[in-house]
């Protein structure tokens, strides 16, 4: 493999920004945001340079690596801290640094009234560095460091306004639920080392060819647990909605475009494991299918614009996970949807931030309405993202989602038909709830208070939105034309990445027609229900039980609370009681016995010489009597 010494700058630049800003403290208040943005942008520059270098090399030499240092050197456990930049990582590098830089620019204006803006930029840079380490690591252990790093940055940023207890709780919830996933990743690494003897991607790939399927299935399932935690997939999805407590740029960057897609990256990167473990692959598909409907249903019931978008993110990542679970046929399309989703969802989140900016930070869509006139740029950019996510040609989401639906149908047999139907149903619901968001926010009559004065956001905020909306228009066609992205990624997935699905259940054009029909149905229902009828400014309470359950996030929190949290609390209380009564009781009991014995024995020390003499006499008599009895 070609080695390069410049890979480390990708990570080092934002890391330098984060460390400088955190150490400089208040002294950096004046220029902190500029440094943060510059570091992110220069990392993007290095990424572009690497891409140009990569394009100039022949296909088989495109992947490059860099060994940083020998990390662990213990007997047979050898791990080098190394970086790997191949066709897959470069996609992520450009997405992370590109979208990241745009969001840095957006945040300069969005966070301008926050006195801790410098700290915000430090955390953003920390996130960029950790996320780059995650996608550039050449072993599972290096990836794990980045994995934990993004978890930390996510925690710090969700709880950025931790003066509000609810926000602090949300960050803690995200952190704790992510820990469950992290545990899965550490188990996967341990199993990989125990059975395959190595943890580097190349080593595991080589060793997996002769490994037992049981071991690979175990690794695959543990990797899926990790992916579910980080990517908010069923059953670890409950944290994402609450993570919206963070500032909106954070939601756009971390909880829509990049960090939450790390799970998809992990599955696609571990393609050699999943290809050899069909059971694990099937579970991946099931998790993806459940989450894609789960998120979509929650999305229909949310009145909080950010939470509606968060539910949509969950659902869209469900699409990616499902597609990644379909094996070599799906990996490239999962990544394609990931990239296009990165553009349009980040753009829509920034749009939501722009709307909040103009509406005194209100997030209740039932209090919006008619904002099209007041925020034309936000309306247009958000609208382009909207057309992209529901999948209207020629916008980005059409191509990527269409390919996923097609791949699902081609999975073969009953499974294919079922998965295809689920993805189509997901498309209907997506079209419905996104149209609902559009109508409630922009096109319906105004429902806001008199003291609100909606206005367009400043240049620094709408400029990134415009760039991202251009991405959400063009990226799909760009990746799709001549199978560009698929051919680009093929070397990563080995030889079996080529033409895998021999049989087409439906012709691509038929699938497109069905997908478009699904979109039309969804949009139609939403228009009938919201555009053509009155919308209540307060969510109606006399609704069906299904709406109520959907509003409560399909009872995900109630389930977690009743199944894990309350029994956990009971267990803790029991353990505390056991500790107090049994362990502490034993310790205190020993002390009390010694004290009591001392107090009793002390009475014999009366200080009267005659009683001592009497005791000596009694003792002597008893001794002699004893000897006499024994020897008799």
């Amino acid at each position: 493999m070609v080695t390069s010494s410049s890979l480390v700058y990708l990570i080092a630049l934002p890391l330098f920004g984060a460390i400088t800003l955190l150490l400089a403290g208040r002294r950096a208040d004046k220029w902190g945001h500029l440094l943060g943005t510059a570091m992110s942008a220069s990392s993007f520059g290095v990424g572009l340079y690497q891409l140009s270098q990569m394009l100039s090399r022949p296909t088989e030499e495109r992947a490059i690596g860099q060994k940083l240092f020998t990390w662990i050197d213990v007997a047979s456990f050898q791990v080098d801290a190394g970086l790997l930049l191949d066709q897959l990582s470069i996609c992520f590098v450009l997405l992370i640094t590109g979208v990241g830089t745009l969001i840095h620019i957006y945040s300069i204006s969005y966070m301008s009234h926050d006195e801790n803006r410098r700290r915000f930029f430090a955390y953003l840079n920390l996130f960029i560095a950790a996320m780059l380490l995650l996608v550039l690591g050449d072993s599972y252990l290096t990836l794990y460091v980045g994995w934990e790093g993004v978890g930390l940055a996510s925690y710090l940023l969700i709880g950025f306004w931790n003066q509000k207890p609810a926000y602090a709780t949300a960050s803690k919830k995200a952190f704790v639920m992510n820990r469950i996933g992290d545990m899965g990743l550490s188990f996967a690494i341990m199993i990989a080392f125990a059975t395959l003897g190595t943890v580097s991607f190349a080593g595991v790939k080589e060793a997996s060819e002769g490994a037992s399927e049981t071991a690979l299935t175990a690794i695959g399932i543990m990797l899926l647990v990790a992916a579910a935690g980080k990517s908010a997939q069923f059953p670890l999805q409950a944290w994402l909605g609450d993570a919206m407590a963070g500032p909106t740029p954070v939601s756009a960057l971390i909880h829509a475009a990049t960090m939450v897609t790390a799970g998809v990256y992990l599955i696609v990167r571990s393609n050699f494991i999943f290809d050899a473990a069909p059971t694990a692959q099937l579970i991946v598909v099931i998790v993806g299918a459940i989450t894609l409907l789960f998120g979509a249903v929650i999305g229909t019931a949310k009145d909080d614009i950010k939470k509606a978008l968060a539910a949509s993110t969950m659902s869209q990542i469900g699409y990616m996970v499902l597609c990644a679970g379909l094996g070599p046929a799906g990996y490239a399309f999962a990544i394609m949807h990931l990239l296009t989703h990165g553009f349009f969802k980040a753009g829509m989140f920034l749009g939501a931030g722009s709307v909040m900016h103009g509406m005194n930070d209100s997030v209740d869509m039932r209090r919006y309405g008619g904002l099209r006139k007041f925020m034309p740029i936000t309306f247009i950019t958000f609208g382009l993202g909207y057309l992209a996510i529901i999948g209207v040609p020629p916008f980005a989401g059409f191509y990527s989602k269409d390919l996923i639906i097609e791949t699902a149908f081609n999975a073969g047999g009953f499974k294919g038909i079922l998965l295809g139907s689920i993805t189509l149903l997901g498309a209907v619901i997506t079209a419905f709830y996104m149209t609902r968001v559009m109508i409630l926010t922009f096109t319906s009559p105004k429902r806001w208070e008199e003291d609100q004065h909606p206005h367009e956001s400043p240049f620094l905020m709408w400029f990134p939105m415009v760039i991202l909306s251009i991405g959400s228009v063009t990226s799909g066609l760009l990746f799709y034309r001549g199978d560009a992205l698929k051919n680009w990624l093929n070397p990563v997935f080995g030889d079996h990445g080529k033409d895998h699905y021999e049989e087409h259940l439906f012709e691509p054009i038929v699938v497109s027609a069905m997908a478009l029909t699904a979109v039309a149905i969804g949009v139609g229902i939403a228009i009938m229900k919201y555009q053509l009828s009155e919308i209540d400014a307060v969510a109606p309470q006399n609704v069906s039980i299904f709406t109520r359950i959907a509003r409560k996030d399909l009872l995900q929190d109630s389930f977690n609370e009743s199944v894990f949290m309350r029994p956990g609390q009971v267990l803790t209380r029991l353990l505390v009681k056991g500790d107090e009564n049994v362990v502490d009781g034993a310790v205190r009991g020993i002390g009390r016995t010694a004290l009591g014995a001392g107090a009793t024995l002390r009475r014999t020390q009366s200080g009267f010489a005659r009683s001592y003499a009497a005791l000596i006499l009694i003792g002597a008599v008893a001794l002699i009597a004893g000897i006499w009895v024994v020897t008799l």
């Binding site: 020390q605 009366s606 200080g607 009267f608 010489a609 005659r610 003499a613 009497a614 006499l617």
Partner: protein
């Protein structure tokens, strides 16, 4: 004469001494009772020496007497010192170690 009678006398003397030590309060009397018990022991030693026809018991009795003499010197000195400071020869008054 039956040598066992000496043993009975010695037992009697020892008992009187022991009861005296426990019952009496006057330090001098207690001291005398201790001497009585020592001499009871001496008498037993000499008697057994006689019964067995050996000399070890009689020699030991001399040692006991020497030790008893030393003990009397030290003991009386202590009793007089206590009497001087506390104006009392009662053994129960000298129970200061308790506190």
């Amino acid at each position: 004469m039956n040598p066992y009678n000496y043993l009975y006398v010695a037992g009697l003397l020892f008992t009187i001494g022991a009861i005296g030590v426990i019952v009496r309060r006057n330090a001098i009397v207690v001291f005398m009772c201790i001497e009585l018990m020592l001499n009871a022991a001496n008498l037993t030693l000499v008697t057994f020496s006689r019964i067995n026809g050996t000399l070890e018991g009689q020699v030991t009795a001399f040692f006991t007497m020497v030790v008893a003499a030393c003990e009397v010197v030290v003991g009386l000195a202590i009793i007089i010192a206590i009497y001087r400071s506390r104006r009392s020869a009662s053994i129960d008054d000298a129970s200061l170690l308790k506190r």
